[in-house]
């Protein structure tokens, strides 16, 4: 029953992705700047025929609707084209960089939740206490502080000044990690390489904090306010009247209900963490999709931009679906 509904929802993603594909295609053609010009500008002197040759190769000489048709026809077959700049299939480039981005997003999510969940609950229980006021001020700061600024600050303190953590990259190449899945932490464990594990974890810390700070702040605020709300409810008094320990009154009876609005925000944050990391990846030279996207945009690498944006869109859609599925477990009033 649930399986059928999930399948149905997955099928809905097809028209959504189609729409995204058309939109991103059109937007890219509307941005000023010609990819071949930019490429040639980098290459220096060019023979006149060469530019024509390239345009033909990329189908840039065709009318727009023909280009769109060619792009969509390939996309349906899982072929997102060929990157102008890297001279490699787009799918291959994305597959190479995606694990890095997912690893960072998971690190940031983990950091966000570890910080936000206890703070959100504690602040709600001790409403208007010093702890509450301090953490909510912190949350305000976390929401309003730009990630790149926090990233630079963290690098200055923990890498440059204290020298505790590395500045950039995903791993020390001297650790000799043998890549299996592309998730370096996982690969280190799979290959039993302790040096690589320590190194990859150390590299992961600062970017995760920089990226996850906003998530932590967001989730803490939502969790606090929904906990405050559910702690006010009659069912909390009933739980106490039954003789339930206060710890369980909070962690079972109140939290279970407060999770309902919180899960929505966490779901949105998953999308944000996967798709909103361009700046943090740039600051920490993290070789992920975000950095790939930035480069692709600056070099008008149409196929690559289209590919990356479609991956972003897909993660958003899937994150939403995940939230909806989770919802049916948390909130008995809702069915898929």
């Amino acid at each position: 029953m649930r399986g059928v509904k999930i399948l149905e929802r997955l099928l809905y993603t097809i028209p959504i992705m189609f729409g995204v594909a058309v939109l991103v295609f059109l937007f890219m053609r509307m941005t000023p700047g010609d990819p071949v010009d930019i490429m040639m500008g980098e290459a220096g002197t060019v023979a006149p025929g060469e530019m024509e040759q390239l345009r033909k190769e990329f189908h840039l000489d065709e009318p727009l609707h023909v280009q769109l048709y060619l792009f969509l026809a390939d996309a349906v077959r899982g072929d997102l084209g060929y990157s102008y700049a890297y001279k490699k299939p787009v799918t291959e480039l994305i597959a190479e960089q995606l694990p890095a981005t997912i690893e960072l997003a998971l690190g940031a999510l983990l950091f966000g939740l570890i910080v936000a969940v206890p703070i959100g609950i504690w602040s709600a229980v001790k409403q208007y206490s010093v702890v509450d006021r301090l953490s909510m001020a912190g949350a305000f700061l976390g929401v309003s502080m730009p990630a790149f600024w926090l990233g630079i600050l963290l690098i200055l303190i923990f890498s440059v000044k204290l020298r505790w953590l590395p500045v950039t990259g995903r791993i020390d190449y001297t650790a000799g990690l043998q890549v299996v899945t592309g998730f370096y932490v996982l690969d280190s464990i799979l290959t039993g390489n302790t040096t690589a594990l320590v190194s990859s974890l150390k590299h992961l810390v600062l970017p995760s904090v920089a990226l996850g700070a906003g998530t932590a702040a967001m989730v803490a605020r939502v969790l606090r306010s929904s906990m405050v709300e559910s702690l006010r409810q009659d069912y909390v008094i009933l739980a106490r009247a039954k003789g339930v320990r206060e710890t369980w009154v909070v962690l079972k009876h109140a939290l279970r209900n407060a999770l309902i609005p919180t899960v929505t925000v966490v779901g949105i944050q998953v999308g944000v963490l996967l798709g909103g990391n361009m700046i943090v990846e740039q600051v920490f030279s993290w070789p992920g999709l975000g950095r790939l996207a930035v480069r692709a945009i600056f070099s008008r690498d149409f196929p690559l931009v289209q590919g990356v944006v479609m991956v972003y869109a897909l993660t958003f859609v899937l994150a939403n679906l995940l939230v909806d599925i989770l919802y049916t477990y948390i909130n008995p009033k809702i069915t898929l």
């Binding site: 009659d234 069912y235 008094i237 209900n257 008995p332």
Partner: protein
Amino acid sequence: MTTERKPLLEIRSLTTVFPTRRGLVRAVSGLDLTLARGELLGLVGESGCGKSVSMLSILRLVSHPGRIVAGEVLLEGQDLLRLPIHAMRQVRGRQISMIFQDPMTTLNPAFRVGDQIAESLRIHGMLNGSGSSIWPFNRGRAEAERKRVVELLDEVGIAVPWEARKRYPHEFSGGMQQRALIAIAVSCHPKILLADEPTTALDVTIQAQIMDLLRRLNQEHGTSVILVTHNLALAATFCQNIAVMYAGRLVEKGSTDAVIEDPRHPYTRGLLECIPKIGATRQPLQPIPGNVPDLAELPPGCAFHPRCKKAQDACQEGEIPLVTLEDGRQVRCLLYV
């Protein structure tokens, strides 16, 4: 034995306050009330006179910023207000249970009804010993738990209880929700049931069924019940005794017949005159003049004196004692001192 002569529950000068911006709201100010074993007591009074806060105070469940500042709540001679919190938890749901006014919001929407009943059983170890089958302990206990939950749902009159236990509260009607709450409340055979307007949210036929259910529990298990209501007629048909509250205090308590037929306190009389009698000749109803006093600025002396037809100068001064009349009735009024 001394405990046999003592009342089951004795509340002495209970005072619960709420510090607010307007000042200190005295929701309950010096309440005295006793409840005997097996007694069905109706607690009546106008809205806002402190009935709910009194009941919550007995279980020490008054929410922030409310505070119990004085008094004693003696359960079989033991003062609940001085119990450490872990001992208090043993009282809640086990010795004294509460049924709330609004079943819709009182059940936890996120858990199955059966699990909410089972939680009470588990907390108070009501199933220990029942898992002593050849099955592994947990399996036996889960089985016993299910059986007991179904029994309880059946006892409170829920049809198809083995299906109903798997339902969520929102899948229940209001009447069924209240029955489920009663099942939770009686699951551990408490000595006292505090029923705070248990039928206000329900329609009249369901109301009668719920009251029947409470009466049956009282007769079969000897559970004492305090029925909080502002419906004097309901209290009169259901209860042996009636207690009348005004502005956070007890003003009169006596047997139902005595209080209804021959009210002594001017406030009780006023209340009775407000009630239309079915079948009686059409008389204009007599509302009590004036308004309920602001609990943050209680008048000195008897709080009722500004509205009382028989007020004397002395009513404005000092503490009015609660006197016991020859028929065992308690009244707090200078007319009887």
